[in-house]
Each structure stands twice: as C-alpha cells, then as structure tokens.
C-alpha cells in the first residue's frame, strides 16, 4: 500500500514553468521543501547581524559589551522563555510586564519596611510568589471562566498596575522612588561567579530548564498538543485547562523572578507604566521573531532566546554605530512584519 500521498504532500505550484529543465526544477523544489524554513528564518539573520556588528564595531565583540548585553537581557529572557510556553499552549499573556513591575515593588517595599537580611530574603520569596499567584489567576480566568486570554491578561495588567501604585505608597520615603541599595539584597545582581553576572547565570539555568521541559517531558508534549489542537488533546485524555493554567503560572513566576532580579540590578523601581507595556511587547516581539507560532502548537525556547537576543543586538548595534535611536522602533516593527510574513509563507510552502 502506498504511504506517500503525492496529492497531499506535494507543494501546489500554481505557476509552474511551461517548459524546459523540468528535472532541475523538481530537484530544486524538493530541496526547498526539505529546508526547515522556520529555523533558517531566525538563525541566518541572527548570525548575519552578529557578524556584521563584529566587523562594523570593534566594541561589539568585547567580553565587556557581550557581558553587559546578557546581564541586561537576563530578566526579559527569563520572562520570554516562560511566555513561549503560554503561547505554544494556545494562550497569550499580556500581563507579564505589569507582573514584573508589581513583583519588583512588592519585593522593594518589603525590603524597605522589614529591612536587614530577613527583609531581603522575605522580599525575594514574596516577590516571586506574587508572580506565581498572578499567573494562576490569569490561568484560571482564561480557562475555567472562559475569558479570552488576550482580554483576560490585558484587563489583569491594568489591575496589576493599579495595585502596583497602591503597594508602592508603603515602600516610598517621601516622593522619590523605592530604593533598595542595601548589600543584603544587591548581591543578587553584583555577584559574578566565574566572571559572569549572577542574573546571567540564573537566566541561563531557567532557559535550559524550560527548554528541556518543553522538549523532553510529558508536560511539554501536552503543551504542544493543547495549543496545536485543544479538542483533540482533550479527547485524548489531556487536561487541557490544567496544562494551560500551568503555563500561565510558569510565566507569572518567571515575571516575578525577573522583577526581583532587575530590582537588585537597578536598584530602584521607576514608576512608569510604559516600562511594563514596553517589556510585554518586547517579549512578544522576541517570541514571534524567533519563530514561535502566535497561533499555538509550534515553537521552542531556543527560538525565543535567539529572537530576544536578536532584538537586543540590534539595539546595541544602533548605539555602537551611533545611529539615531529614533529608528530602533521602526526597524523592530519592520523585522516583526517580515518574521511573521515569512512564517506565513513557509506554512503555505509545506502544504
């Protein structure tokens, strides 16, 4: 019995050449079909920009510059890796930026109020737990309460930002920002085991863990199935809602961890909603540029890492090459459109 069904697997070339070189054309087409376009679409541009910047700016490929970029991106990498799971499972989380800001404020307020090593330890733990709780709430309202996750997490982000202002009143001395410039807490950002900053190490570990979870665990398989075809997954015996809630909880926890780490780096919380919003959008941009499907069911953590670093590298390049930062937003927008367009094209290619 024939297994291959050329009728189905073959590409549909509506405008095939009329004559000449049919064999070559076929071979080329077969080759084009085998190329994993989704991976090419992020790996090639990433390497190209990396090489171009290395040549164009001697400052780029220095240990200090790379180290700085990674240190500054550690928080966003952690959030983006976790948000990738949410997206693959068929959800979306627009509240990660707000959660990040909220947990930083909670952590900072506790440190200011309690003080000392107890305050620092309590701040870190409660900050991360606050992220977990928000993630669980996001998950529950977008599954059991059947509110579309886009709307649910958008609404949640307004609520969280409001709550952030409420909490921050307790952490401020006078009119300034919450400042936590105390050694009991700042070690989190200042330690440099093996010459690499602790935030970079934490990000590295989180990325590996999340990547492996998605790649090699039962839960990872269920995440792909829940996003790829929720009804089929449900009928196959998978508790789709539980899987989705878990992804939201992971994303919330990651936002909490990132909020705490970045607070230790800065070490103050600027009260600015725009920072939260920009973070959320940059996270989504990185995920999409990396090639994870916005529709769910397909993607990977390594893609998101490349996507986020690609954007970071681009911004870094703009600075190093002294290009007006005005163009950063425009460049990023164009890149997102190209990435998503390319993805759509590669999908039709495989049909």
């Amino acid at each position: 019995m024939s297994i291959e069904t050329p009728e189905k697997t073959a590409p549909a070339p509506p405008r095939a050449p009329r004559s000449g070189g049919a064999g070559e054309q076929d071979a080329l087409r077969a080759f084009l079909r085998r190329v994993p376009w989704r991976s090419v679409a992020i790996v090639v541009p990433f390497l190209a920009v990396f090489v171009a910047l290395s040549i164009g700016s001697p400052a780029f490929l220095s240990a200090q510059n790379i180290g700085n970029v990674l240190d500054r991106q550690s928080g966003i990498l952690i959030i983006a890796a976790a948000a990738t799971l949410v997206l693959i499972a068929g959800g979306i989380d627009l509240s990660v930026g707000a959660t990040y800001m909220f947990t930083a404020v909670v952590c900072g307020t506790i440190i200011v109020r309690v003080g000392g090593e107890t305050g620092a330890a309590l701040g870190i733990i409660v900050g991360i737990l606050a992220g977990l709780v928000i993630g669980l709430i996001n998950g529950i309202i977008s599954t059991y309460l059947k509110i579309n996750p886009l709307i649910a997490t958008l609404a949640m982000s307004f609520i969280i930002l409001g709550a952030t202002k409420l909490v921050s009143q307790f952490g401020k001395e006078g009119v300034g920002q919450i400042r936590v410039d105390v050694p009991e807490f700042r070690w989190l950002a200042l330690l440099k085991p093996l010459g690499v900053s602790l935030p970079t190490w934490i990000a590295f570990i989180v990325l590996i863990v999340l990547g492996v979870v998605l790649w090699r665990t039962t839960f990872g398989r269920y995440v792909y199935a829940a996003g790829g075809n929720a009804e089929a997954a449900r009928l196959a015996g998978i508790r789709v809602n539980v899987v989705r809630i878990a992804t939201f909880a992971i994303a919330g926890t990651a936002a909490g961890l990132a909020g705490v780490i970045d607070l230790a780096r800065t070490p103050s919380v600027p009260e600015n909603d725009a920072i939260a919003t920009t973070l959320t959008f940059t996270v989504l941009a990185g995920i999409v540029v990396g090639g994870t499907s916005i529709l769910g069911g397909a993607g990977a953590v390594w893609r998101t890492v490349l996507g986020i670093l690609f954007i970071a590298m681009l911004y870094n390049g703009f600075t190093l090459l002294r290009i007006d930062p005005l163009f950063q937003g425009i460049a990023l927008g164009v890149i997102i459109l190209v990435a998503v367009g390319f993805d759509a094209w590669s999908r039709t290619r495989r049909r």
Partner: protein, 509 residues
C-alpha cells in the same frame, strides 16, 4: 469577460494526450490518455495516491502537466491558473465548500460579479439573474435564504450554480458526497444527472463505488499514476473496479465477523442516558461484540458516543463498564479502558502540526515516561510498534499532516490500541479513506473484537454497518428507535427505521 453568459448548449470536449506529472522527482501521473465526452458523467476511481486529484488539478488549471497535452475543443491549452480554466468553462466543486455563510444564496452565486448600478449592488437584477440561472439548471433554491443555515447538499447546489453562472461546461466534483447523509447524497445524484442531461460534462471523483456505478456513464481507473482502463460503467461491477484499483482481487471488503460466545459478559451497559442531543438511551455491548449505530447525520449517534465517553456532561443516566459506574471525565474513562476515535480526525483527533510519533503516543505518555520525563528510546520503540500494528510505514518524525486520510485514521487506531481494553467507539471510521486502507481499518476493528473488546461502530454507510456489526441499533432524535439482529439486519429495515415519521412512531419527549 461574459457576465452571465450561459450558452444554450454549453458543450466542451476535453482531452488529455500523454499527460505526465512528477513531484520532487516522483512521477505521480504517467502517460495518461483520456477523453471526457460532453454530456456525460465520467468517474475517476483509484486509491489515495493513485493520481486522481493531480489529474483533476491539471484539468482545472491548478497544476501544469510536465509532459503531454491538454486539448479543449480541439485546441491545445496551457492553463496556468484555475481562473484561466474557469474562463474556458472548467470549474471545480471542491470537497470543502467555499461559500460565505452570512450571505444569501443569490449573493453567493454572484459573489464578486454582482450586477451593479453606479457602484451599488442592484438587488433586483441580482435576483432576476439568479432565477434565470436556477431555472435553466432546474435547481429549486430560495435566492434570499442565508447559506449558513442550509444543509450541505443545498450548499453544494449553490456552489454548482455559481459555477454555472460563470458559464462552466465541465464540472469537476471531488468527493461531493463524502460529507453528506444518504438522503442528501441522493439529492446530489439527481443534480449530477441533470447537469449531464443539459449537455454539460461532470468529472466525478469518488470513493463510493456504488455511487460511481449508479451515476457514471464512463469509469476510468487509475493506479499508481497509471491509466488502467476506461470503460462504460455498465461493464463494471464493484468487484472489477476494486480489482482494477488494487491490482489484485479483494475477496470481500469486509472481514469475517468474529464469533461472540453466548455467555460473553457485558462490557458496557448504558441506562437512561440523557445528555445534549441524547434523550434517554439504554444499550449494552458484550465482550467481543461489534454493535453498529446507524441513523441519519444529526440523529444523535455521535452525541451518544460522546456522552458514553464522557466528553460532554451527562444530565442523567448511568454508564457502566464491567458493572462499575464510569464518571463523565475523559482521563478516568480512559483508565477504565474505553477509547473514542471521533468522527472528524482533523478537528477532534490529530494534532496536525506535530509528528506522527507524538500523535500515536499522545494518550500513552505514561508508558514512555517516568516521572514526567520522556524516555526517547522507549518512545521511538512504542511508536514504531504501534504503527507496525496498524500498518503505517515510513519515518514517524514527519508531521502527521503528510499522511493520507487512510493512514491518518490508522494513526488514531494506533493511539487507541494501547488504551482500549474494554470498549472501542469508532465514529465514522472510514470517512474519506481509500478502499485499501478501509479494509485495513475493518481488520483492526475485527481484531479488537476477537480480543474480547466490545466495539461500537457509528457509520452513515449502511453497508459498512451491515458488513461489520453483529447487531445494529438505529438512532433517531437522540433515541434508539430500532434494534436489528440476524435476518432483520437489512438495508431496508435500517433506512425505514431511520426515516420513520417521528410523530407516529417516536412519541413525545
């Protein structure tokens, strides 16, 4: 371009001469010679992958032939798009209909080519032109009805009218009745006959051999991209067609029914089950017994299956496996040994963007993982083992969407094999499946029964129900209205029960 040009006797003679086509170096059509005579119904049969669709797509302009010629009314044609073929009078009615559900019948028929006055759609003229086209084709459709609520057979009529309004003289129909209930299928058969009687040509691609023999004037058999023969339908029988398609004889499509011991225990007992679309159903299945659920589409057969499986909430009633109550919760139902292969494998069965391997092991992760950690070696072996049992060859890391319909269905059976210990529910197991794979699927069903598993088979194909089941339950209005066994299991009895007037025999809810 003619606006609503319907010539009085629109006839088109389409001819293929030595046509060949390859994809990626693999020839899918070799040296095909074929003449489609005007005013006839010409059927194209063959297994999945035999080249039927490719051939029809060359005629309809979606593909271009690598070799050979396409001759329309004596002129060589090179269609580079379906548009060009349509302008020449060749239209395709696809399996998935391309109608706008929110628009009316008339609006759909003239979609994109509405008669306009100063930029506004002229509704009166639209209706007038519609009635003109409808009258000439003999279709009785309300121009103002919204398409979304219509039955599929009527929607197909709309699609056909659209083709006719554009002056189509050769109409290609790819599996037009695959999604239709028997009654609707018969309505569509009348439509096909009308089209041929009006001088148009119909190229019919169908897996239903009975339909092919009843409708077609001429039948062409393809196998592995080769033209086996073209003969008058009157000279063919189902057996000769199958022999031509497979290249070997198939003693019977259906395997022998396994013997059910008289004292075989009941595996499933359903009492007074009420759920959405299910209005008080009681039934039982014995170990090793195959029970058929027959009835019209929408009668409540799939609803009964889902209520038993626990994928919808139950209002009342009891589902018991081996005498033990079974709650309406899928993971727990699975543990009890029930598995449902649902009606629509693309929407409810497979995760199309994932590999075959992940799909076949999806319900069996416990066996290939310890503590949530997937053991890839075991995963590979488990997948291969299951796929071998359901006869799906090839690399299981390919996306499952790369497989043919029959093989996709087998992957779902593979998933079921390890889980099903008591009861297998198979809802339309052979829909859109080619003849060769169909036999393989029947064999799988019978194998399960032989191992003492109870099987509930739902099918709109009455022959299939009769050929497989020991006992047939006929469903109408969410109730079981007849139980047929032994000599009472006839096509006539099933149809009679399925269509019986609900007021006189059904009783009030």
């Amino acid at each position: 371009m003619p606006h609503t040009a319907i010539a009085d006797t629109p006839q088109l003679r389409v001819e293929l001469r030595g046509v060949g086509k390859s994809f990626g170096g693999t020839p899918v059509l070799r040296d095909i010679d074929l003449v489609l005579e005007p005013g006839s119904v010409h059927a194209l049969v063959g297994e999945n992958g035999a080249g039927k669709s490719t051939l029809s797509k060359i005629i309809s302009g979606l593909y271009t032939a690598d070799r050979g010629q396409l001759v329309v009314d004596g002129e060589r044609e090179h269609f580079t798009s379906p548009r060009e073929a349509l302008d020449r009078g060749i239209a395709t009615i696809a399996q998935e209909l391309a109608l706008v559900p929110e628009l009316t019948v008339a609006e759909n028929v003239f979609l994109g080519r509405e008669p306009r006055t100063a930029g506004w759609i002229d509704r009166k003229k639209l209706k007038r032109e519609f009635l003109e086209v409808a009258a000439r084709s003999g279709f009785d459709l309300d121009p103002d009805q919204v398409v979304g609520g219509m039955r599929t057979a009527d929607q197909q009529k709309v699609e056909i009218l659209r083709a006719l309004a554009r002056g189509a003289s050769l109409i290609i129909m790819d599996e037009p009745t695959a999604a239709l209930a028997r009654h609707d299928a018969e309505l569509l058969h009348d439509v096909v006959r009308q089209l041929a009687a009006s001088g148009r040509t119909v190229l019919l691609i169908s897996h239903f051999l009975g339909e092919v023999l009843a409708l077609a004037d001429t039948v062409t058999i393809l196998r592995d991209g080769r033209h086996i023969r073209t003969a008058p339908a009157a000279d063919e029988t189902e057996a000769t067609l199958i022999e031509g398609m497979l290249g070997r004889t198939l003693s019977s499509i259906f395997p022998d029914k396994p013997v059910v011991a008289d004292d075989a225990p009941e595996v499933l007992r359903v009492s007074d089950l009420v759920a959405p679309g299910v209005n008080g159903v009681s039934l039982s299945v014995k170990a090793g017994e195959i029970v058929g659920l027959a009835g019209l589409v929408g009668a409540g057969r799939s609803e009964i299956a889902h209520a038993i499986y626990g994928s919808v909430p139950r209002a009342s009633g009891i589902v018991a496996i081996d005498g033990a109550n079974c709650p309406a919760d899928i993971p727990r139902t699975l543990k009890k040994g029930i598995f449902l292969i649902s009606e629509s494998r693309k929407e409810q069965g497979l995760v199309l963007g994932r590999p075959i391997r992940d799909n076949v092991t999806l319900s069996n992760m416990g066996q290939i993982a310890s503590g949530g950690w997937v053991r890839t070696g075991d995963e590979r072996r488990a997948s291969r083992g299951l796929l071998d049992r359901v006869t799906v060859a090839g690399d299981d890391r390919r996306d499952v969407s790369a497989l043919s319909g029959g093989n996709q269905q087998k992957v779902l059976f593979g998933r079921a094999l390890q889980k099903v210990r008591k009861l297998l529910i198979a809802d339309e197991p052979t829909r859109g499946v080619d003849v060769g794979s169909r036999r393989a699927i029947y064999d799988l069903i019978v194998q399960q029964a032989e191992q003492g598993i109870g099987v509930l088979v739902i099918s709109s194909d009455v022959e299939e129900v009769l050929g497989l089941a020991h006992r047939v339950l006929v469903v109408r209005g969410g109730r079981i209205v007849a139980e047929l066994e032994g000599d009472a299991m006839t096509e006539e009895n099933i149809i009679t029960a399925a269509f019986a007037d609900p007021i006189t025999t059904g009783g009030a809810a």
